[in-house]
Symmetry: C2
């Protein structure tokens, strides 16, 4: 039972998790490399197996490792896929917004600022696939009888297609959080037939601009969409305040 110096004053499981994470980040443990068994790790760090397990669960929660049972099982360093990172980012962003009372204007401004950054690239690189997705979502949005939630979900899909059109996975990853995290806030807005029509028209304009490789026109459409959305939110808030007074 080798004792290992793990200086800090936190939980043992935290310290061990950090030690292993550092080893991964530093490249001492390559992707798909197998970690020592729980018993060996316990030995190595001079702690019991449950403590090691708690550390491994921490890492698993961050998608840094995966575990497998059986004879050749164990914990393996996980390749952090863009998919996994998307999901993490979305849940983190959603919680962040809901827990910190970020006001609608701020979130909205951030989202459209980021999207504008993609518009130019998307106008250059978009494939027919991206355009088709955008058109399909626009079509879905004009269906009558769509719930507000479904309308928002389609809105998210439209904007993700726009972002993906930039053909830069790093951008897609970064913006996934910003766009999806907005949805709960957007869901609070009641979309009247008239406001839906206005939004759809702007979507149409943006899609047309992207198709025509006009980045600036797309950016302008996004800016209008941003301010219109903010106006809508203000109306909702105002009418809600009105109702509260009565």
């Amino acid at each position: 039972m080798k004792k290992r110096a793990l200086l800090q004053g936190q939980d043992l499981s935290t310290q061990i998790a950090e030690a292993i994470r550092d080893a991964i980040v530093a490249g001492d443990l390559l992707i798909d490399a197998r970690l020592p068994s729980e018993a060996e790790l316990a030995d190595h760090f001079g702690v019991s197996r449950p403590t090691v397990r708690e550390a491994l669960k921490r890492l698993a929660a961050q998608n840094l490792i995966r575990t497998q049972r059986g004879a050749t099982g164990g914990a393996f360093v996980n390749r952090l896929s863009f998919e996994d990172a998307y999901d993490q980012q979305i849940t983190t962003s959603t919680l962040l917004l809901s827990m910190n009372a970020v006001d609608f204007d701020t979130a909205c401004e951030a989202r459209y600022a980021l999207e504008s950054a993609c518009a130019d690239l998307a106008a250059t690189r978009r494939t027919p696939d991206h355009l088709a997705t955008m058109r399909a979502e626009i079509h879905r949005q004009s269906q009558p009888g769509l719930t507000d939630e479904a309308f928002c979900a389609s809105d998210v899909a439209f904007h993700r297609a726009l972002v993906d059109g930039a053909g830069n996975p790093v951008l897609s990853y970064q913006l996934a959080g910003a766009i999806e995290a907005m949805q709960p806030l957007m869901n609070m807005i009641t979309f009247t037939a008239r406001s839906r029509a206005a939004i759809i028209a702007l979507h149409q304009h943006i899609a047309d601009s992207i198709e025509a490789h006009h980045g600036e026109a797309a950016e302008q459409g996004l800016a209008e969409l941003c301010s219109y959305t903010q106006t809508l939110a203000k109306q909702v808030l105002a009418s809600r305040a009105q109702r509260a007074k009565n």
Copy 2:
């Protein structure tokens, strides 16, 4: 020992962690609310305490809960702070880039595209504080004898000041990952005296533009910085390939 239906086929600790996380996200557990004790949770879910602990460690790894020892201790729902989210995003982004062989151009393009999105807002809203930070970092960058790592670190600080100047915490959060995650890639570049001078001149130009409330000029400076950085990286790669041949 009440048995609870936790249908899925994963680890018990995973299922329990998800159940609790869902309760938090759904708002059944408010911020700073205390979870039942480990013993009670074990009872409630019909599992042993170590299993519950593994679940709690998973949540702790995501900063969703914090734990406290002692008589009034327990697990409490954590307010996910922007600080915590920054850190998570940075480590995730860094790993994502290092594990997925994202090429320098892609990361660079994403970073500067996102920063450009902030330039306009920063030009409007920057405070003297932000400007002072930018100037200070420019000054640091012109110190002779600075290591490449220190130069890059200062570069990151400069750009974070620019982003923070937009005065939108959501933007700052989203971009923290993009900017900081680039640093390991940037660190691989050797900055000659001449290339440093060129970068500093561009930084100067950007800072001047931000100070003068000229968003477009700042954006242009960023674009130049982007392409210059990409050129530098290409040179480094080429000379490395050259050396490998000999």
